[in-house]
Symmetry: C2
Subunit: 406 residues, 2 copies
């Protein structure tokens, strides 16, 4: 009996996973992960909008175009981002894809590479190449295999991040399994064509175009609506792979059910990423309503989520709502504070341009001691809204990211 | 003999300063500061671009318009920002101006109010009103008086921030004296008409219009080119007051000399603000060159300056230049890393899309242990440039801003 947290019935058909030790992570933990899409899969992907992108992003984008969105395998290494490594980095990435293609007897365009880890250090290609045959031999479709994959991609993460959903159409079952890594440099702003890595596996039958149309809104409402430190990574990637082996096509009711399942899994993984954020002690959901547009609501939410003064106040459960207002006000979005009302954990703090009459500092401080709570800002003018998940800024975050010794 | 750090010959003629204890600061230190412009002064001001602005910003803007830029006195309180206090806050601010006007026998439009401190707490108007006659009696034109003023406006600051310049035209001397407060919530984005408070006093003769034209570029190159935590305050103000009592008009050569003096004083005060930033252990100057425009260079600099990952790396002198690249790349400005070169403290770290051949991690780490150094990024395509002064993010910053107990 499997001890894996992933129930076996949740895994989509058509995929096999593995992970091996290649010596890229200094810890010596498994650091090369492989997915085989047996029979091929259709894919849709979204990558970082950062101007500095890692070699695997450059190569993966090109491969998806060349193959028409067809994927045979995904090769991931953790411990080295292969970013800012110039043409040699791109060449090394290409060679690793060729090596995987040789193992599987497919064209290299059908291999999607991913890397996460330190930026600017040359990829240890020989270690990666040596690991590929072992990774292929280790492939399996059991929960332990998927868990090994989901574990090997982690870097500063402290927790495994997996989510699943399934639904039935007649007597057939469609399964969706997702896994993610990321705990720092998290402020994804993904564009279609993000060092958060997210892999979504399903056995629904859908074209790459259908998958792309489904993926974008799911990512907007999940990974593009979270922030830990606001630092958009150079390697962020969300990859959705559909094997088609459930025998259920993504049409009509099944498409709707799949869309709901995709949103569910993406939101769960996005929440898990923030919950495991570097040094996080409080997870805060920002609910913005009454804005002039969804886009403006999102911009205000991101401004609050990325304010060091707001985030440090959260770390001590300090009901300093003035900082919330200042952070909203610097977003570059026009609004009138006279129409704004703010609640923290459901408790009124600000109404009609001034401190709420019922503001209770002690009760608000107590509500903010919960690990997780919601701050709602209603701008009182329009119908624009946004939901954004973020976290506090703590001593531990500084320690993790200032940890350096010669 | 005066023990003040401000030499007496540096003070412009036509101003008197004072500070008294009104009990607004919890520390009991002097917290109400007054400037009298004897004979009146012409003024130009720039205020915060935050959508949430404090009552004194609302009132001060109105007064400058109504008086045609004519100022008789400036009333400052520290310890309470009078922000997000609604119409009662505006009314209280107005009453304080009326009280000062009554003391000086002028119209209330000639009084400029300023507040800094906690947001969202009603202004203790009675304390402020009670302090005004005392503040008027304490007015003086000696270095100790100016120093008392410059000290009373401080909140979390640990150092007095003053700067001065003077130049001669024939046998006449023009003097410029400036003082500033601000150590947190510093990411000014001032627009003409910026809880950084800056007061600039000069005895040159210039109209409000001339002063406004001179002030904008000086502020762009100084206060708008610094960041401590990137949080744009609700109360930021830069106020330039010219008494005319030097007898030198701001024309031709004198205008140029004054412009240079103004830039000098503004840059010095801006640097002092970052140097006294909350928890700061390293002051970093970002020199951006080769960008497509000055505006794009500035946007990239601000993105680097506000990156928590970059700022935490600086705190441990970590030459993790990959974070610099990632922060530049998320600025929303297109560029090709293949043309980018980066130096830290003059040492090459990145060239032509990859790690510099001469990159020396140990030497770079050593250079970064200096309290102050420069990071230069040359984007290699255009003539756009920017100079931006910022600092590291430390445990002490988190402690200062998370300091809360019920």
């Amino acid at each position: 009996m499997s001890q894996s947290p992933i129930p076996s019935q949740s895994l989509p058909i058509g995929f096999r996973w593995s992970a091996v030790r290649a010596g890229i992570k200094a810890s010596g933990k498994p650091d090369v992960a492989l997915v085989a899409c047996d029979g091929g899969a259709n894919a849709a992907a979204m990558f970082t909008s950062n101007q500095v992108v890692a070699a695997p992003i450059i190569v993966g984008r090109k491969h998806l175009v060349a193959s028409g969105g067809r994927v045979s395998a995904v090769l991931v290494n953790a411990g080295n981002a292969n970013c800012a490594t110039g043409q040699p980095g791109v060449d090394a990435c290409h060679k690793s894809c060729v090596a995987v293609a040789d193992e599987f007897g497919c064209v290299f365009d059908e291999i999607i590479p991913s890397s996460t880890g330190i930026i600017g250090v040359p990829l240890p290609l020989e270690k990666l190449l040596a690991a590929i045959p072992n990774a292929k031999r280790a492939l399996g479709n059991m929960p332990g295999d998927a868990e090994a994959f989901a574990t090997a991609i982690l870097t500063t993460d402290t927790k495994l991040k997996v989510a699943r959903a399934e639904f039935s159409v007649g007597n057939k079952t469609v399964r969706l399994f997702g896994c993610a890594k990321g705990a720092g440099m998290i402020g994804p702003q993904l564009v279609p064509h993000a060092t958060m890595l997210v892999y979504l596996f399903t056995d629904i039958a859908a074209s790459s175009q259908q998958l792309a149309l489904l993926l974008k809104p799911a990512v907007e409402g999940s990974f593009n609506s979270i922030s830990i430190d606001g630092d958009t990574s150079t390697n962020d990637t969300v990859l959705l792979l559909a094997s088609g082996q459930s025998g259920v096509a993504a049409e009509v009711d099944a498409a709707e059910a799949f869309e709901a399942a995709l949103h569910l899994v993406c939101r769960s993984l996005a929440h898990q990423i923030v919950d495991d954020g570097e040094g996080v002690t409080h997870v805060v959901t920002l609910e913005i309503t009454g804005a002039n547009s969804d886009a403006e609501a999102h911009t205000i939410a991101r401004s609050i989520a990325n304010s060091p003064l707001v985030k440090t106040a959260w770390s001590s459960a300090d009901p300093n709502w003035g900082r919330l207002l200042a952070a909203a006000g610097k977003a570059g979005v026009p609004f009138d504070p006279a129409h704004l009302s703010v609640t923290i954990g459901g408790l009124p703090v600000f109404e009609s341009g001034t401190r709420a009459a019922q503001f209770d500092e002690g009760a608000t401080h107590e509500a903010m001691q919960a690990r997780e709570y919601t701050i709602a800002l209603d701008f009182g003018t329009g119908t624009g809204s946004a939901r954004f998940i973020t976290c506090d800024l703590t001593h531990e975050y500084v320690s993790i990211n200032a940890d350096y010794s010669t």
